[in-house]
């Protein structure tokens, strides 16, 4: 391959060589040379035209989260790239591997406040794993290779490549063979054997052990190993928001979600435990509550591929830096004395029955919101029907937005498989669901993808509905849990601010008509009796469907730990 190519052609070829086959973006002045070249590669490089760069970014995130592969988004210079900032920040917080390709003004006018010039590398420095400003065509092939390597290895994350227009337009003979050279970037995958043994020794001395699993398990594809490890030692397993589905909630050892809206028995178990091993979670404040009061009796082992997460929020006894799957393999390889294991098993069984007893004292799952004494149309009615339908039909992915509906979904839907629950966790980005679901649906055409959103968040990015139509996608359904409020904020106002509903009542358009305007089917549901029929109709319809569930307005998410309180202090009603 010794022919000269333009920078834009090299960009296309580098992306293809590094495994990219779909990109979400919007063209504009500075990035136009890339689009010019893209036309010749369209059989290998599918471009999905979004309606807003934020949508493109979230779609790339959804694609990445649903597959474990790199998601790619594109924006032109200036506003095109600043619109990508929110999804980049979201990907940063949730360690999602995305590559943002940005057009930049020509190097001749760079730094001179040229039309649509924005210092996007400066802006995104704190929210990217790494970023690049490429001004020379000779750098493009290597930078793309290195950028994708950084985004997808170690602790994954967003990487941004900003390329000047002249670099895209100039020509050179590309060298794709240059080896990646990053002396300062060598992620540790294999956990230290010594630490692994120390962790296991510590665990075997405990009587009330817990295993907590988070996003790291999902990203390392370590579900099987989690199950094997939990079963080997009969460990109760806690799944954080991003760990949901890593082990099936049907599994006898899975006890559910911890934290602010986690289950009472899970949080109580954490406060009682004398040992807690966290694999691939980062002890987010929504999990720990007030950190100084978290798991006061537990010796803590923290397994994370990013050393900076260990000891950041919670002091640990045994740190293990490594990939979740590799460390689990090491843990499984250990062969402790069988008598010790037998004793440990006996204690673990007693401990588990204690946790289940705690659980039985507090309502769980679908029963939680069940109010036979009321004729109100509760969000629970939607989740009950949806859960039943998803379990019956299988092949689903659920993408949630941020707020009450998100917590209900996390609590009430039965999560069985990895990468079926996709949400914005760390950043809490309202507007995530609709465009992210687009990326998920595109990645998994065989699955039915449900975007569950509130009426507030949905209106932040609903323009991507038309992208779904343009792409001819049919496997996407939207459920709006419409309560006419920015519900989670309203809940806080009700509970902590004396019902001062400042800025939370929300008027929405007629979502059915909106759906129809976009070429979707729209359904309005105003009573519990019509929920199942609407969901069935959504499945029966050969195309995207939006259901507007007009639920009771003032319903709260419980249980709840007030902010900065101990997770031992839960409000349950």
């Amino acid at each position: 391959m010794s022919e000269k190519r333009t920078g834009a052609q090299i960009l296309c070829e580098a992306l293809i060589q590094n495994g990219v086959d779909v990109m979400f973006g919007i063209p504009g002045g500075a990035i136009m040379p890339f689009y010019y070249a893209m036309w010749d590669y369209r059989d290998q490089l599918r471009h999905v035209l979004c309606r807003h760069e934020q949508g493109a970014g979230h779609a790339a995130e959804g694609y990445a989260r649903a597959t474990g592969r790199l998601g790619v988004c594109i924006g032109t210079s200036g506003p095109g790239t600043t619109n990508l900032v929110t999804p980049i920040a979201d990907a940063w917080m949730d360690s999602t591997p995305i590559l943002a390709i940005c057009g930049q003004v020509s190097s001749a006018v760079l730094g001179k406040d040229a039309f649509q010039e924005t210092d996007i590398t400066g802006i995104t420095m704190p929210i990217t794993k790494h970023n690049y400003l490429v001004k020379n065509v000779d750098d493009i092939a290597y930078v793309i290779k290195e950028a994708i390597h950084i985004a997808t290895t170690g602790r994954p994350g967003p990487v941004l490549v900003d390329i000047t227009k002249d670099a895209l337009q100039s020509s050179t003979v590309p060298d794709y063979s240059k080896k990646i050279f990053l002396p300062g970037y060598r992620p540790t995958y294999q956990g230290s054997k010594k630490q692994v043994k120390a962790a296991l020794d510590l665990m075997l001395k405990s009587e009330k052990p817990l295993l907590m699993i988070g996003n790291g398990v999902m990203m390392a594809e370590a579900s099987e190993q989690v199950k094997a490890f939990a079963e080997r030692y009969k460990l109760p397993v806690i799944t954080t928001l991003h760990g949901l589905g890593a082990i099936s909630e049907d599994h006898e050892l899975c006890i559910g979600m911890p934290g602010m809206h986690g289950w009472v028995h899970v949080n109580r178990a954490i406060q009682e435990a004398d040992f807690l091993m966290n694999i691939g979670g980062r002890f987010d404040d929504r999990v720990t509550g007030k950190a100084s009061t978290f798991a006061p009796n537990a010796a803590i082992v923290h397994v994370d591929i990013d050393p900076s997460e260990i000891g950041k929020n919670i002091e640990v006894e045994v740190p293990i830096v490594g990939d979740a799957k590799m460390v689990l393999f090491s843990l499984l390889e250990e062969e402790p004395e069988e008598t010790a294991v037998a004793q440990f098993h006996a204690n673990a069984v007693t401990w588990m029955s204690h946790i289940r007893e705690l659980q039985s004292k507090h309502q769980h799952k679908q029963q939680y919101l069940n109010r036979p004494d009321t004729s109100m149309f509760l969000p629970h009615d939607v989740y009950a029907a949806m859960t039943k339908t998803l379990n019956d039909r299988g092949n689903y992915r659920v993408v949630t937005d941020v707020g009450q509906h998100q917590m209900w979904a996390a609590q009430l839907i039965d999560w069985h498989r990895p990468r079926t629950h996709i949400t914005s966790g760390g950043a809490g980005t309202m507007g995530f669901a609709m465009p992210a679901a687009l990326g998920v649906a595109l990645a998994h055409p065989e699955d039915t993808v449900w975007a569950v959103a509130g009426d507030g968040g949905f209106q932040m990015t609903n323009q991507e509905m038309i992208t779904v139509i343009q792409e001819g996608m049919k496997n996407l359904k939207i459920a709006i849990i419409n309560n006419g409020y920015l519900g989670m904020v309203r809940q806080w106002q009700e509970l902590f601010e004396n019902k001062r509903y400042s800025g939370t009542p929300l008027t929405s358009p007629n979502f059915k008509l909106l759906a129809e305007a976009y070429g979707w089917k729209g359904i309005i549901v105003e009573s519990a009796a019509d929920v199942q029929a609407a969901i069935d109709e959504a499945y029966a319809t050969d195309g995207p469907v939006l259901i507007d569930f007009r639920v009771e307005r003032e319903v709260n998410v419980f249980p709840m730990v007030p902010q900065n309180k101990s997770i031992g202090d839960m409000i349950t009603e």
Binding site: N136, Y142, F181, P183, G184, S308
Partner: protein, 183 residues
């Protein structure tokens, strides 16, 4: 808060100083002093940063998260040579010159410019010595002053050579745009 001196070796790529400083800012680590420059090894730059933090381990880990950072060492407890430099322009009427000359000699400072009513003094030394000198000459009237950040080197054969970090494959690899510390 405790003060720590960190020696950081990093790949000399565009924006690397910006990345480090930006990380300090957003994580709320207070920089007391910062100096950065080339090293004995081409394409590696070295930063001495004096940071105020009770969680220096986190500071070190966060530095390591930056792709270009090769090695971070906390030398606070090590035997080190530490130097700062100050250029001080003093208001010096003729009759006080002798006194200033005497003081600079005592401190081992250098007079690098003499004019009608001013002198520029170059003072190099450990942080407290520079501080002392400034205190002593302040009453004469400091017209201008510029101080550098602290640079630090561990005494003896042990240390932080960039050459130790350079692999055989190092030279000629990586991005084309190598070699600008200050971007």
């Amino acid at each position: 808060m405790k003060t720590h001196t960190l020696v950081v070796l990093m790949q000399d790529r565009p924006g690397v100083l910006n990345r480090a400083v930006s990380m300090f800012r957003r994580r709320g680590y207070n920089i007391a002093s910062l100096a950065v420059g080339h090293t004995e090894t081409p394409s590696i730059s070295r930063m001495t940063v004096v940071v105020e933090s009770d969680h220096v381990e986190q500071v070190v880990k966060q530095l390591y998260r930056l792709i270009e950072v090769l090695k971070v060492s906390d030398v606070t407890a090590d035997p080190v040579v530490e130097r700062e430099m100050a250029l001080i322009k003093l208001h010096v009427p003729g009759q006080q010159r002798a006194e200033i000359v005497a003081l600079t000699e005592v401190f081992g400072a250098k007079i690098v410019d003499v004019a009608n009513n001013t002198m520029v003094i170059e003072m190099t030394g450990g942080p407290s010595k520079v501080e002392n000198f400034i205190d002593v000459v302040r009453p004469f009237g400091i017209k201008e002053m510029m101080r550098t950040g602290r640079i630090t080197m561990v005494r003896g054969p042990r240390g932080h050579s960039g050459a130790d970090l350079v692999d055989a494959q190092w030279q000629g690899e990586g991005m084309g745009a190598v070699g600008s510390v200050a971007q």
